[in-house]
């Protein structure tokens, strides 16, 4: 090795991939490197190669019995008791069947004259400067999302809002480009999870989150 910095483009990209995997970059550079790993397959392959090389240090992480958070995680991912109005128990139904019924059940409950309470969610993440408040108007079937802290992402990136369905499948509710947005969201119900992910400009090209999920929140009555 010479005393000079690596100068070939390959070494430069590989050193950046290593820095990203190691985790030493400041947040601004880290977010850009994470986006590049998703968007640029060659760089993504470098990241995986470094994950595999450095995985040999993983024995330095000693296993410690985890608190049992499985129940809480499952309650978050698989809400089932949240729509008791018609006494249906979606949780007992199979995956695809349940998803297909979701639309039907929502339509049925639409026919009632009920005026539901407002559903709200707070989307935060301990480590995230960004936070959002969400409010779902059950009569108008519209969701309003308000940015309560933080700033929009850098040029070339968009925030995208998702609802995580009863089977854990995310559906896009649109891009979050303003401090306040209102979207039509007939599928929402109490107990469902809202999530905001960081995506390339224009939103996820795949229809599913491709960037990091920055924060999540659960829709609750009140």
């Amino acid at each position: 090795m010479t005393d000079r910095d690596p100068v070939t483009p390959d070494d430069d990209a590989d050193a950046l991939a290593a820095e990203f995997v190691l985790g030493v970059l400041p947040m601004s550079e880290r977010v850009i490197a994470a986006a590049r790993a998703k968007a640029d397959p060659a760089f993504g392959a470098r990241v995986v190669a470094w994950e595999n090389r450095l995985a040999q240090i993983n024995d330095g992480f000693e296993p410690i019995p985890a608190p049992n958070v499985l129940t809480a995680i499952e309650a978050r991912l698989f809400p089932k008791a949240a729509k008791p109005k018609r006494g249906l128990r979606w949780g007992f139904l199979g995956g695809a069947l349940s998803a297909a019924l979701l639309a039907v059940v929502v339509m049925i409950s639409d026919t009632g004259p009920q005026t539901g309470p407002m559903l709200t969610a707070t989307l935060t993440e301990a480590a995230q400067p960004l936070s959002f408040a969400a409010r779902f108007d059950q009569d108008a079937k519209t969701l309003t999302l308000i940015r309560t802290a933080g700033t929009p992402p850098a040029a070339g990136q968009d925030l995208q809002l998702w609802v995580i369905g009863a089977e854990g499948t995310p559906s896009s509710l649109g891009l979050v480009r303003d401090a306040e947005i209102t979207v039509s969201a007939p599928m929402l119900a109490a107990g469902l999870i809202l999530a905001v992910s960081l995506e390339p400009e224009g939103g996820s090209p795949t229809g599913l989150p491709t960037g990091p999920v920055l924060m999540t929140g659960v829709l609750t009555e009140g």
């Binding site: 910095d5 690596p6 190691l22 985790g23 030493v24 595999n52 985890a66 499952e74 990091p212």
Partner: protein, 181 residues
Amino acid sequence: MSDDRVADLIVAVSASDRAAFREVYAATSSKLFGTLLRILGTRSEAEDALQEVYTRLWLNARRFDPAKGAGMTWLIAVARNHAIDRLRARPDARMSDDEDALDNVADDAPGAENRLLALGDARRIVDCFGTLEPDRALAIKAAYLQGRSYQALAERFDVPVNTMRTWLRRSLLKLRECMDA
């Protein structure tokens, strides 16, 4: 079925298999909790992070490619990424703890390396760390195991951030050369 049970389970989770999700939690949560606690430092934050990591596993399992690496390697990468995102987004409140924490890495190193030595695979990285200057090998381990930033490492070793970055980038490429040889 492969001989990587965790990889098989993650693939099943990507097909929305809830039983596989429970099984992968049972098989891996201790390791991931140990990883998160080591980096984040408090049980309460590690517990929050653990929930988030398994939520991401459910949502993102389809991104796992068993041809590219082991299941446990991928899960630990997801956990480390999330823990480090949390650290980098923190105000600098915990900076003052860094020195103690880094000393702990130094103290831990023999134990950790003995564990590494017990595995054939890890022998190569232990040998390759031996080719680096000891301070720089220690800095890489502190970054990996405890999520130390360039800023924190520069303060600990009392050099400018850019110098630390140049050292570490060079050392990482040297490590790569040794490991890929």
